[in-house]
Amino acid sequence: MSLFLNILIDGIAYGMILFMISVGLSVTMGLMRVINLAHGGFALVGGAVAHWLIIAQGLSFWLAAPLGVAAAVALAWPLERLIYRRIYGFGDLQQVLATIGLTFLMIATVNRLLGSTLLALPLPELLAQSVDLGFRTLPLHRLVVIGVGLAVIAGLWLLIDRTRFGIRLRAAVDNRATASAIGINTGLIYSATFCLGAGLAALGGILGAEMLPIEAYYPLRYMVLFLIVVAVGGMGSISGSFTAALGLGILDTATRYLVPGFGTIFFYGCIILFLALRPNGLWGRTA
């Protein structure tokens, strides 16, 4: 029983991190049809800025974290306007090449400014303590991560389902041409969505730094992990990303509890099986 609970708790916490970082990727891939390999770069930028603010400037975590997210958004906006605008029109392969190029530049910049060692994000006292659950202790920040993850999915649901922005976004996803024909400013929608995705990536990067530590090569190291979430969840689907991230988090955790020696083979075996059976992911629309 406690084993089962352990798997559930650790899997969900891990899954929430994956969800926060990947959801923006899923939405931009579904909406703009752009294979954005540079997405993890926004998590890196957010984390690196937060690290710099805490370590070099002595800011508190509570201030540095939102500023890190803001920095990622501040970078995403001009990038979207100046570069991604043009990338949308490219073929798949050119998109891959262009976004890989951007990733290289982000890595090289962080590497140049902060070096290639770990960029620690020391947690504040409040989050660093452990909570006793009876059968085990759990670091408080994992509970916070789960809470923030739930808040993000709820927020996204409200945004998409209940606001004018959401209606326009959904219209643009379904059919861009029609959407702009009926007077929706799709360009603005694209920019806003892209920035939202980048901001969430940064948030996930900062909160997840305990598990996926920030360092210059972060975007390349975890690129495949984030892409798997999107592929399993289905491109463009928020609920799909959520389910996939949780499912993969739990699967990965379960293999580590149950078959530690063969975790990797088992994990990828499951991915192959799933994608072979459901090529468009859980809730994916056909590409």
């Binding site: 650790d10 452990s130 202790t137 598990m211 360092e215 992990l225």
Partner: protein
């Protein structure tokens, strides 16, 4: 044109086989290490250590000028390692090779060493089997057996009877596990479980929880540096293992370049290793002071000391034998000297240094406010225990 190539190859073979110890010449040393990518720090530290040595001892040994040539291998990549080494030997005509962070990179050049009779001083790669592949390998770092086995014996002496080993599932991790398990069981202890964690692990909670449920006296671990080590030690701490009295036993986990990033979570971690930047000796303080003077941002750690002592060995070989490879290797076998890490002997059989292994505990230094590996005990003059008999 063809004749040029023939002359070149003839010259290469000739040069490599002639012993010219008599008159002054410029001796070239090729350093192969990663200077780019996620492992770039190694290359940077090697170069810094060499510069420190040059600043202290000049750029010549005996009557020979010594010149270093650096080549970037990028990461674990034996194809590239071999190609670069070939280039160094043929184009730059180096007389000595040095560096080599990863085991496959070092292993890939063994045939080249034998053919060209060029000594290679390993600054890092820690698999025992490397040196058995060619008589021209010398090693100034350590081997995994060298630090893991003494740790196991020490742990048993401290009253630790039950241990769970949990290592990353790849060559070095398994070497460390084998060494620890063999020595600990030999001493009379019990290994409750040996967990092997996938290389791609990002969340270590499952393994830590499994260990917690078996409640051993201690856990022994080996992880690749960087993010995995960070994740593992964090998780160890946060899940209350320390509070339950499960001791952390490791080796390279608390090395200095990432130590500060761990924060207070690292305090109390116990490791056995051959070098701590906190080592209490004048030689070490001078060494670190010089490094900090030349490279203000640099963090001195085991990679720095491995390269520093390796440079010393090269200087000695050059002074003794110039560019005569076999004579040079012969001349330093059994050599004893005092290094910033403590006394060293170049083992004539394994060609890995015999050195002290220190038991350290992470503490926050009161003066500097930084985390340090404070030496608590010493196991004197340990050779490479993993040497294939």
């Amino acid at each position: 044109m063809t004749s040029r190539i023939i002359r070149l190859s003839a010259a290469a073979t000739l040069l490599l086989s002639t012993a010219v110890a008599g008159h002054a010449e410029t001796i070239k040393v090729g350093v192969v290490a990663p200077f780019s990518g996620p492992f770039a720090l190694y290359g940077k530290q090697f170069q810094e250590a060499i510069e420190v040595y040059q600043a202290q001892h000049g750029t010549s040994a005996g009557e020979h000028e010594i010149e270093f040539i650096y080549k970037d291998v990028g990461g674990p990549n034996p194809d590239q390692s071999r190609a670069l080494t070939q280039e160094l030997l043929i184009k730059d005509q180096v007389d000595y090779l040095a560096g080599y962070v990863f085991t496959p990179n070092a292993l890939a050049v063994a045939p080249l060493l034998d053919q060209s009779e060029t000594p290679l001083v390993i600054f890092n790669a820690a698999t025992s089997a490397i040196n058995a592949q060619s008589d021209f390998y010398l090693r100034t770092s350590y081997t995994l057996w060298q630090v893991s086995a003494p740790l196991a014996e020490w742990a048993y002496e401290q009253g630790i009877r039950e241990v769970v080993t949990t290592v990353t599932d790849y060559g070095p991790g398994i070497d460390a596990e084998n060494a620890f398990v063999a020595a600990f069981e030999e001493a009379g202890g019990t290994i409750l479980d040996s967990i092997r964690m996938p290389l791609s692990t990002t969340d270590f909670t499952p393994f830590i929880q499994s260990i917690r449920e078996q409640s051993p006296d201690a856990l022994f671990t080996f992880l690749p540096g960087g993010p995995p080590t960070f994740g593992f030690t964090k998780t160890y701490n946060e899940n209350g293992l320390r509070d339950e009295g499960i001791m952390f036993l490791g080796t390279a986990e608390t090395e200095e370049s990432n130590l500060q990033a761990f924060g207070d979570a690292a305090i109390g971690l116990t490791t056995a290793y051959h070098y701590s930047a906190d080592h209490d000796s004048d030689l070490n303080r001078e060494f670190i002071a010089k490094n900090t003077e030349l490279h203000p941002d640099s963090v001195t750690n085991w990679a720095t000391i491995g390269a520093y002592d390796g440079t010393h060995v090269i200087y000695q070989m050059v002074e003794n034998a110039g560019s005569d490879g076999p004579a040079a290797v012969e001349s330093v076998l059994g050599m004893e000297w005092e290094s910033p890490r403590g006394p060293l002997t170049m083992d004539p059989e394994t060609r890995t240094v015999i050195q002290n292994v220190y038991i350290r505990e992470v503490e926050r230094d009161e003066e500097s406010g930084l985390l340090v590996n404070r030496e608590k005990g010493v196991i004197a003059t340990v050779g490479d225990l993993g040497w294939p008999e």
